[in-house]
Symmetry: C2
Subunit: 454 residues, 2 copies
């Protein structure tokens, strides 16, 4: 329940802030805002209506402006940038790391970009251009080209003298990278080794070459997986010739992991990952309408199945009362299997070698649930409608639909993955279409066969 505690605290802050803003007392707002980290300020700005957001944005310490812009969604960022003078913007972004600057650049007005580029030295300008030349979800965009490199044939003493001359290291530097004369990546040396070994120790005796470098085209999802599989804090990025280009640090990877999780939850519910709770009505409407339209089409498909049994329903109205139960329970049972499959597929745990095992396991679980829940439904039906025929038919339909749901839960995501469609997005709609259609068809079909007065 940490979420609850946190909710209380931030909700309290929001309320205080809201009251202060309403009464025009900006002093307390400024004090509150400047106790927060850039990520927390970003979070706060996202949750304010746009008029209040602009007021609070004006109260943020200009030193934090650049970092805050990195911590808000695209929509809010556009609004904040629009509210700033070119001078303020240049001041806000010119001290950012290259990788962070690259992330913001697309959203900045051209005049500001020109100013920022002018204010950079040639080396950094070239680095920025290099980072921008890679696709947006690749290691090349995530990396910071500002890395500290050393040669293998020097001693710790030489390295320490070099570092003292160089001064401050890039944020989160935990390793120095060892490169060849042609700047090819050879391995890394931890700062903790530099400070625990004698000054005369040569770097090549300390060098760790066991961590593979990330190639610059690697997609960011794969970068995140490698980091969490290997518990890395940072990793070198190289081009196809093994030339060192930069390094990725875990704080950026944590952002990716959070975004992936958000994406999975939101897209399964039919919400675009760009939408937030505070998106403008029209934009939110457009995104959601598309999803609802797809669902409406599948709903008509299921209704058309029911439509084929109008004669049966006209004769036995109880079937209309009970049919949503059969369809709905199939959907619930299938969703359970789907959720496990989506995770298993993402972890690479599903292959042709074990699909058979999984299907067999899920069908057995479905039969157990089907028989047990079918019995419950059958008994309740018998008590309710006093008709053993309907009771038997709904029992059979439950067993059938839950088995069908298990099959669909395993096979739908595998099939989608084979066609390169993300099962986390499309799996749910397809699965519930199958269970609705099958649920109605099995229940009304069996009733038509066995219960109609012929």
């Amino acid at each position: 329940m940490a979420d609850a505690a946190r909710h209380e605290r931030t909700a309290h802050q929001l309320r205080m802030l809201s009251e202060s803003l309403d009464s025009g007392r900006y002093g307390p707002v400024r004090r509150l805002v400047n106790t927060l980290s850039p990520a927390e300020i970003g979070n706060l700005l996202e949750s304010l209506p746009s008029a209040k957001r602009d007021v609070v944005w004006g109260l943020v310490d200009p030193e934090d402006d650049g970092e805050v812009l990195l911590h808000v969604d695209d929509e809010v960022r556009e609004g904040l940038i629009a509210a700033m003078d070119p001078d303020e913007l240049v001041a806000a972004v010119e001290d950012l790391d290259i990788d962070d600057l690259a992330e913001l650049l697309d959203d900045l007005p051209d005049t500001v970009i020109d100013e920022v580029l002018k204010s950079m030295d040639r080396e950094n300008r070239e680095r920025l251009e290099q980072v921008l030349s890679y696709p947006e979800d690749s290691a090349g965009r995530l990396m910071n080209p500002d890395v500290v490199t050393v040669r293998a044939d020097v001693t710790i003493d030489v390295v320490l003298r070099f570092l003292r001359l160089r001064g401050e290291l890039p944020d989160n530097t935990d390793h120095l990278y060892v490169v060849s004369r042609r700047h090819q990546y050879l391995g890394r040396v931890a700062l903790s080794q530099l400070v625990t070994h004698d000054a005369g120790t040569p770097i090549n005796t300390l060098m760790d070459d066991s961590q593979p470098a990330i190639t610059v085209e690697t997609l960011s999802d794969e970068v995140a997986r490698q980091f969490s599989d290997h518990d890395w804090i940072s990793a070198p990025v190289v081009d196809e010739n093994n030339v060192l280009l930069g390094r990725i640090t875990i704080d950026d990877v944590v952002d990716i992991i959070r975004e992936q999780a958000d994406y999975q939850v939101l897209s399964a519910a039919g919400v675009s990952e760009d939408e937030s709770l505070f998106s403008p009505v029209l934009r939110a409407f457009r995104g959601r309408f598309t999803w609802l339209s797809i669902n409406l089409a599948t709903a008509f498909l299921a209704a058309s199945v029911v439509g084929r049994f109008e004669a049966t329903l006209a004769e036995i109205v109880a079937l209309a009362v009970l049919m949503p139960i059969v369809a709905g329970m199939g959907g619930n049972a299938g969703t359970q299997v789907l959720a496990l499959m989506v995770r298993g597929l993402a972890l690479g745990q599903v292959s042709a070698a074990n699909v058979g095992t999984l299907v067999w396991k899920e069908v057995r679980i479905a039969l157990m649930n089907g028989v047990l829940l079918g019995l419950v439904v059958g008994v309740v039906t018998l008590v309710w409608f006093q008709n053993p025929g309907i009771s038997a038919v709904i029992f059979a339909a439950m067993v059938l639909n839950l088995s069908c749901a298990a099959l669909a839960g395993v096979l739908v995501p595998i099939t989608l993955r084979r066609f390169n469609i993300d099962p986390a997005v499309a799996g749910g709609v397809i699965l519930t279409t199958v269970t609705d259609v099958m649920g109605f068809f099995a229940f009304l079909g069996l009733a038509t066969l066995f219960l109609l007065r012929g």
Copy 2:
């Protein structure tokens, strides 16, 4: 599509492995397994049926055994531990970090625990006991008590001499912690500062005291939030008197973030977080049956609403064909709102100050969707059943149910949170119950009022 590429690769490995195991050729399996990281081996073991799992487990390099045990779920871990001799187990776990050892300890047989405790020196034994004295989801369990501390009044030179005497630093050490004589936390010094400043620089001029320490009782969810809000790599853990107890590193936090994401996705689908794709049938059945039973109860509730309109359905069978559309579309629209609300609540972006704004925004979106989709449904209904009355009623019912879904989407999660119930778990069932009941009631109710031959 990194997932797809990864899926291909790991699926290929799984297939190769499976074939080699089937034909009894263990050489290639051993070679493949020992190219993987402990996390990857863990992932592989989880995806194998238990007979093959035991064979592969026997082929893992004993040096990796301890780390692999840390990277599998509880169920698989129990099985692997059961397959090991006490001697093997002691060898596997005795070199682990204290925090990792604490995580495994509950699963080890008592004789092994005794052996491991005996093999540790007194200091480490006391540290382990201290870690174990904190609740399982607290900072105290996450922390590693093995930290390197320095005094504020010494110079870099003294620190470097001390570190060279001490030798190897704990994994992922990026900062040394500065403490008082009474071991109270004062601040931290980055290793990168030690290597970039002159040897004569006193520590107190370099010390950064801006990062607050984490208190030992902090819940792990809150620890994860602080790390990602502040982009920390590591953080000190203190007791209520500010005495330094240990440090938490980001690799453990990444695991928490992943687990949170898994929990949210699985629990929303009604699967226990302990279940995996490869759990035994009986265990999986029990977990899922509970969830399905709850859903069955709500399904009967919705059916009882339909039951009240049997007379209406008997007269106009078309209503039975169409009613699942109204109920289902409400569920879909409400789920969209719920997903955004659950995220907003977790981020602390929702408070009494903006509930009104959110409700008004969602109701407007719902009216737009309701009118547009209602028109589509109305026209299709008119073409299908040639009955303008049914067409008008379904239009009105769609607008009503989508508005109701929007209200429920905002208010259900807020209410659950107020009662300290996780809206990510219970929100979906309650929401769809509301939209089913309201969908059936609005549609059949309006039809009864306006369409029945009186």
